[in-house]
């Protein structure tokens, strides 16, 4: 059995009390579970976070780049929030890539961006930053995940995708199965 919330292994501080679980079953008249499949679309659901979560404040910085270790065993999504009073280019790269392959021009004061759990899978390191920023700005980064427990009591993330409506109070999940 693995811990549900990954404890103390991620650079992003994870609070082990924050998880909830959801289970959906269809039972026949003998109360046995009926198997069913999703059509072309996934099932969408929201899992609220623990209401006692104390949201850490945004961090004030003037550093251009930040790095995150993605050393969790389970796939996670990464969510960025940035407050800045200037235009910049938001860039990120994974692992040992030499150049920033991804960039976004930003000219709004509050900017949010996410990398879902399928985009981060297999990577160990994420470097992101604000190019052309030589002023102070605020940022906050948090992670989310949607998992199921397989028959061997192991947490798995396949078939589950963290959705764009995830925020600090709930996780948005898409699932192609209801295991």
């Amino acid at each position: 059995m693995e811990p549900l919330a990954v404890y103390g292994r991620s650079l992003i501080e994870s609070n082990t009390n924050l998880s909830r679980s959801l289970s959906i079953s269809i039972l026949d008249q003998n109360r046995n579970e009926i198997p069913f499949e999703t059509n072309s679309n996934s099932i969408e659901f929201f899992i609220p976070r623990d209401p006692n979560l104390r949201i850490p404040p945004m961090i004030l910085t003037n550093e251009t780049f930040h790095s995150l270790n993605l050393t969790t065993d389970l796939p996670i999504s990464i969510h960025f929030e940035i407050k800045a009073n200037f235009s910049y280019r938001f860039v990120y790269k994974f692992d040992k890539q030499s150049t920033f392959t991804n960039s976004i021009e930003v000219n709004q004061s509050y900017f949010t961006f996410m990398l879902d759990n399928q985009q981060t899978v297999g990577h160990r390191l994420l470097i992101f930053g604000l190019e052309e920023a030589n002023q102070e700005y605020e940022y906050r980064v948090y992670s989310s995940g949607c998992y199921y427990l397989n028959k061997e009591n192991e947490w798995k993330g396949d078939g589950l995708r963290v959705g764009p409506k995830t925020n600090l109070s709930h996780s948005h999940c898409f699932s192609t199965h209801l295991t």
Binding site: P3, T16, N17, R20, S21, S23, D28, R31, E37, I43
Partner: protein
């Protein structure tokens, strides 16, 4: 032919079956001989006007059946028909009702009907409580006039928790803290018709008690179930350190509940003091639980009281030792078996309360046993990984069986189109009886099974995966 789904709720009275206006009526019909395959059903409702001079009942068709389909009436075109108590509640003047089922096949109609007479809930009585002020140790007297009924039981009004039950109209109780504390007496007749009589509010303040093993054996020496239930509440309130200031002390930091936000008192003690304190309370709780005697289930209310005690005993999930968990889980399991045994004698409302409390008990037990393994709860001094894992595995194994029994108990009362949900700090459970076809359409799912079959749709949301 047809009969009531819950047999004890319809009692024969020659021409008329007695029926309670305080709960739903669920009927099912069946063919005595083999039914033709091509058939349709329709249920009709009539109310009766009795001509006592001629000893004759004139039946008038209740013409709003269609308007209230899937609101008051469920399964009108199936073998099972349910009428919620809203019908009787809205037409209180009508004392006689007839439910008729018509089978239509091959151009022929065949019908069958059952006549009901309302069993009026107990009336013309009163209850009072004395004194009106006291402490958690005060013995309060509840005295009712003789309503000539089966049982009296006392509940808190806001939380609907049972405090005591009694076949005789006078009894003594110890009460939980409350200012004011609102209480009502549930008066239940021999056919399970219920009247709630609200008492004048009382004030109960906390009186300090010194928890010790001697005190426990003293308190639990009494053989009365009510007294034991009240002692369990008194002691667990102290162990859970509940106070009325609405703040939760550091001793109850555990996996936080689904509902209401918890305010944690800061800078109260250092972490090592906190760990020491929960270990002390866990030991006390274990020695207390070991002393609780075996109690038999004498009535539905006894099942309510005992299951509530188990919720109170397990409420603080970070103070449950392996021994405590073993004893309590065993008791929860026994009560679940008792629930199955009593099922045919209970109204839907009774089942709801008992299932809710048993769900809370199991959720607490499973949270407590799995929490430390998943690093979500503080580990107690007695911790041995292998033992904890072994206990967790054995309890997790029982989980499916328990959920099966609790779900089935509720499902028995849910006809096509009906739903019910339980919302507690530990677990949210929603059940709905629906045709597979409409469920698959709503959820955008597919299945190769018979689409016309009626299924139960269950959604469970919990603190913890293991429940």
């Amino acid at each position: 032919m047809y009969r009531c789904v819950i047999k004890s709720l319809c009692s024969p009275n020659v021409e008329f079956q007695k029926v309670n206006p305080t709960t739903q009526v669920a009927l099912f019909s069946y063919c005595v001989n083999e039914c033709p395959k091509e058939k349709k059903f329709i249920w009709n409702i009539y109310f009766g006007q009795i001509d006592s001079a001629q000893n004759f009942t004139k039946w008038i068709l209740f013409d709003q059946t269609t308007n209230f389909e899937n609101i008051w009436f469920f399964g009108r075109n199936t073998t099972n028909f349910t009428s919620t108590n809203d019908l009787f509640d809205h037409f209180r003047n009508e004392t006689h009702w007839k439910f008729e089922v018509i089978y239509q096949f091959e151009g022929m109609n065949s019908s069958s009907a059952l006549n009901f007479e309302i069993n009026p809930p107990p009336s013309n009585g009163s209850c009072e409580i004395y004194p009106r002020n006291g402490t958690t140790k005060t013995l309060f007297s509840v005295t009712c006039s003789d309503w000539k009924v089966k049982e009296y039981s006392l509940f808190t009004t806001t939380t609907k928790q049972i405090i005591a039950f009694s076949p005789i109209p006078s009894f003594e109780v110890r009460l939980p803290i409350g200012n004011p504390l609102d209480l009502f007496v549930e008066i239940r007749d021999y056919l399970n018709a219920i009247t709630e009589f609200h008492l004048l509010p009382v004030t109960v303040v906390k009186e300090e008690i010194n928890l010790s093993k001697e005190l426990f054996s003293d308190l639990l020496s009494n053989e009365n179930q009510n007294t034991i239930g009240q002692m369990i509440r008194l002691i667990t309130d102290e162990l859970n350190q509940i106070d009325i200031s609405n703040e939760i002390p550091l001793t109850s930091i555990f996996i936080s509940p689904l509902t209401n936000q918890v305010n944690i008192r800061n800078n109260q003690s250092t972490r090592s003091e906190f760990v020491k304190e929960i270990n002390r309370l866990a030991d006390l709780r274990e020695s207390f639980i070991k002393l609780i005697p075996e109690m038999t289930i004498v009535s539905v209310n006894s099942l309510k009281l005992q299951s509530l005690s188990l919720v109170q005993l397990t409420d603080t999930t970070n103070q449950l030792t392996r021994t405590t968990l073993q004893i309590v889980s065993q008791k929860c399991f026994q009560l679940t078996e008792e629930l199955e045994f009593w099922l045919e004698k209970m109204t839907f409302e009774d089942v709801q309360m008992i299932v809710t409390q048993l769900l809370q008990c199991f959720s607490n037990v499973l949270t407590a046993v799995n929490g430390p393994l998943q690093k979500r709860i503080e580990i107690l001094d007695e911790w041995v990984f292998d033992f904890q894992k072994e206990l967790a595995d054995s309890l997790n194994e029982k989980r499916n069986q328990i959920i099966f029994i609790l779900t089935s108990s509720l499902n028995l009362h849910l006809n096509l189109g009906q739903n019910y949900s339980i919302e507690t700090p530990q677990v949210f459970l929603s059940l709905e009886t629906i045709s597979l076809q409409s469920l698959l359409n709503r959820m955008n799912l597919s299945s190769n099974l018979n689409q016309n079959q009626i299924v139960s749709f269950r959604v469970r949301f919990s603190l913890f995966l293991f429940f």
